[in-house]
């Protein structure tokens, strides 16, 4: 986890907001470093994590987690982490026409038009598993992490089905079980005559549902080697305040973390 991001978002593994739906999105940049941050954050906090890794293999997250100080393999063995290996299992679904029970979560590969019910059932069963099973350890509130949701659009699932899925997950994880959700969505450029099934539509729908949105983009002034991009943080305010809080930071991703700084204060410039 990145200490600077923790101070920006005002949360630590010991005290963080629950029932939170965090949306991480990017446009022509790569926001997956934020997913690694949240993964290590919630594992450190002792929560039960359900991770849908749809675009990378387990060893990728495991290698990065090692550098950030958490061991994913150990967490998986202890039962703290439930990992859905999207890439590896999807081969079996498409090529072998495998219809066994384990591939039910990936049923959207066979019939993209049918929706994501299988995936939701998997999520539900993972987060509802009570901690007093084998080792007697009880984990904290459940957390659902998805990397990344927009790849489902490439596989033929409709935007409406994905938004339904996130609503179901939000109702179960956030409202019912007081857990958190972190979802990564990758968008394309804003296109004037974009078709209705675009990732921009998905992102707009999810921003409407979420509590905290982290949007990563490249610098508006062009490519720079020392500043990898800008991140916009948007909080949805509950309560009497009408205006929503919004801040912009520049960041640079290192080997072992990322540093965030206010606009114009990069070490390359100063």
């Amino acid at each position: 986890m990145f200490p600077e991001l923790n101070s920006i978002l005002n949360s630590t593994p010991d005290s963080f907001k629950s029932s939170d739906f965090i949306l991480v999105s990017d446009r022509r940049a790569d926001a997956s470093f934020l997913i690694h941050h949240h993964l290590s954050f919630y594992l450190r906090a002792g929560c039960k994590v359900c991770f849908l890794g749809l675009v990378q293999s387990f060893s990728h997250y495991s290698a990065v987690g090692q550098r950030l100080g958490v061991s994913l393999a150990q967490a998986r063995e202890k039962g703290q982490l439930v990992f859905l290996e999207g890439l590896k299992n999807s081969i079996g679904v498409i090529l072998q026409e495998d219809t066994s029970q384990e591939t039910q979560p990936l049923s959207y590969l066979r019939t993209p038009g049918a929706g994501l019910e299988g995936l939701f059932r998997f999520v539900e069963s993972s987060v509802r598993q009570s901690g007093d099973g084998d080792a007697g350890e009880s984990w904290g509130p459940p957390v659902l992490l998805i990397d990344d949701l927009s790849v489902l659009l490439s596989l033929g699932v409709s935007v409406g089905a994905i938004l339904d899925f996130t609503l179901y997950c939000k109702a179960t994880v956030c409202s019912e079980l007081q857990g958190n959700m972190v979802i990564l969505v990758r968008c394309e450029e804003e296109d004037a005559d974009d078709d209705e099934e675009g990732s921009n539509l998905l992102q707009r729908g999810l921003v409407h549902q979420c509590n905290l949105a982290l949007h990563v983009e490249g610098l508006p002034t062009g490519y720079c080697r020392d500043i990898h991009g800008q991140m916009e943080v948007w909080w949805r305010q509950e309560g009497e305040t009408i205006c929503n809080r919004r801040k912009i930071f520049h960041f640079k991703v290192h080997d072992k973390g990322a540093s965030f700084f206010a606009r114009g204060t990069s070490s390359a410039v100063l």
Partner: protein
């Protein structure tokens, strides 16, 4: 910086993205033609073009997918594909070539021939008769010279050198070509299989099936016993997305199979991640009407570059570009097993195909008028030459020049370094300005 040695558990399971760590000492057989990356320890293979290897961070990581967006006439992307396959032949890797337009055998016959003194240290397979001349011990010494480099290279002492040079005016010797094992898939000769339950149309489905069969049969996914020597499978897939593959994403605004190519790439990446293979896919992106689809295709691949050639466009007569054949855009670089990726110094790259080298160089534009009289052609700011890995024997000297991020000063540093790196180019024989 040597390859990081990490405390990870056994890397012999192929479920990992093939990170072969040095610490499991002699258990692992080093594969010829590969080397570990200095950034994150990934196993890399050369793409056949040394300057392209430099641009994408040292080479292609095994288990990843390189996407090449074709230029308009498919001349340079096809050339890159041939370099990729020729490198596989020279290193002894296995090849899988799939195409829909030209027969794979025709493409194989056009492979460029490797330049001889690079091949001297090469391990030609058993059928080949090596002329026994007294020069041989001396030519072996050239390869042994690299022995004294830091430990990144010494462990691979017995294997072939990384990255070779090719002469595009000659084609590869048939004996050399036939020594390599090549599987081919020619779409027009395949019988269509009706797959009602799959969202993938038939050509893509049969191609994936064929790739999976080869991977399983030849044991690239680790299913064969340890006694067999490990090797890398190079997949070259030509012009995916074109109509000959049964896909209409390139010809229609609202294609019926708009998810076919993206699903194909998703499954292909799954296959690559679970085996010792690397794929190069060329896509005629200039034909797709929908930029969003191209964006998705780029996201689904690991490394993505685009070639834009000047032939036929107004840039051909632009004096800024008179030394080059086209621009090379790096669309995406992968982050494999680490947070940060290889960030290039600059994104303005131009390429030039010469007889003995495919050069990729930094082309920086002067923000002020570049056509003003004080800029003579020789002091043109384009002259910043990038050290390709093949010429510089020291792997730590990967960055020949450090350019500051601001455009205005890059021209100054270019002029400063122009004189120092010129001697390096003369060594390789880059002076010839003729193309094929």
């Amino acid at each position: 910086m040597a390859a990081p040695v990490r405390g990870m558990i056994g890397s012999t399971s192929i479920g990992n993205t093939t990170s072969f760590q040095k610490k499991t000492r002699s258990k692992l057989v080093s594969i010829p033609g590969t080397r570990p990356s200095v950034q994150n320890g990934q196993l890399l293979v050369s793409s056949g073009v040394s300057s392209l290897d430099y641009v994408i961070g040292g080479g292609l990581a095994v288990g990843t997918l390189l996407l090449v967006e074709e230029d308009h006439y498919d001349s340079y992307s096809r050339m890159l594909l041939k370099y990729f396959l020729a490198e596989g032949v020279v290193c002894g890797h296995e090849l899988f070539l799939a195409s829909a337009r030209d027969h794979p055998d025709d493409i194989m016959q056009e492979l460029p021939s490797p330049i001889v003194d690079d091949v001297a240290g090469m391990k030609i397979s058993e059928g080949q008769s090596q002329p026994s001349d007294p020069e041989n011990p001396d030519t072996m010494k050239i390869a042994w010279r690299y022995q004294n480099q830091p430990k990144v290279q010494t462990a691979l002492a017995s294997s072939v050198r990384f990255g070779h040079y090719y002469d595009v005016s000659k084609t590869m010797e048939p004996e050399l070509r036939q020594a390599a094992k090549c599987h081919s898939f020619y779409q027009l000769q395949e019988t269509p299989v009706v797959t009602a339950s799959s969202p993938l149309p038939s050509p893509y489905h049969s191609l994936l099936k064929s790739i999976q069969t080869v991977i399983r049969k030849e044991g690239f996914d680790g299913s064969t016993p340890q006694s067999k020597v490990r090797n890398v499978l190079r997949l070259g897939l030509h012009s995916l997305g074109s109509v000959l593959w049964g896909d209409d994403v390139c010809c229609k605004d609202n294609p019926a199979h708009c998810h076919a190519l993206t699903t194909f790439l998703y499954i292909l990446r799954g296959l690559l991640r679970t085996s010792l293979s690397v794929a190069m896919v060329t896509v005629p992106s200039h034909l797709t009407q929908n930029r969003a689809v191209m964006g998705r295709i780029i996201r689904l691949s690991d490394t993505a570059i685009a070639l834009e050639s000047f032939k036929g466009s107004e840039k051909e007569t632009n004096p800024l570009y008179k030394d080059y054949h086209g621009l090379l855009h790096v669309r995406q670089l992968p982050r494999l097993n680490c947070l940060s990726c290889e960030v290039p110094d600059t994104k303005d790259l131009a390429f030039k195909l010469k007889r003995k080298q495919f050069t990729i160089e930094v082309s920086s534009h002067q923000p002020l008028s570049a056509l003003s009289p004080q800029h003579t052609p020789n002091s043109h700011p384009i002259a910043l030459r990038v050290h390709s890995y093949g010429t510089s024997p020291n792997p730590n000297e990967q960055r020949g020049v450090k350019t500051p991020p601001r455009l205005l000063t890059s021209a100054v540093s270019a002029l400063k370094t122009h004189s120092t790196v010129d001697t390096a180019d003369q060594r390789v024989g880059c002076n010839e300005n003729d193309t094929d």
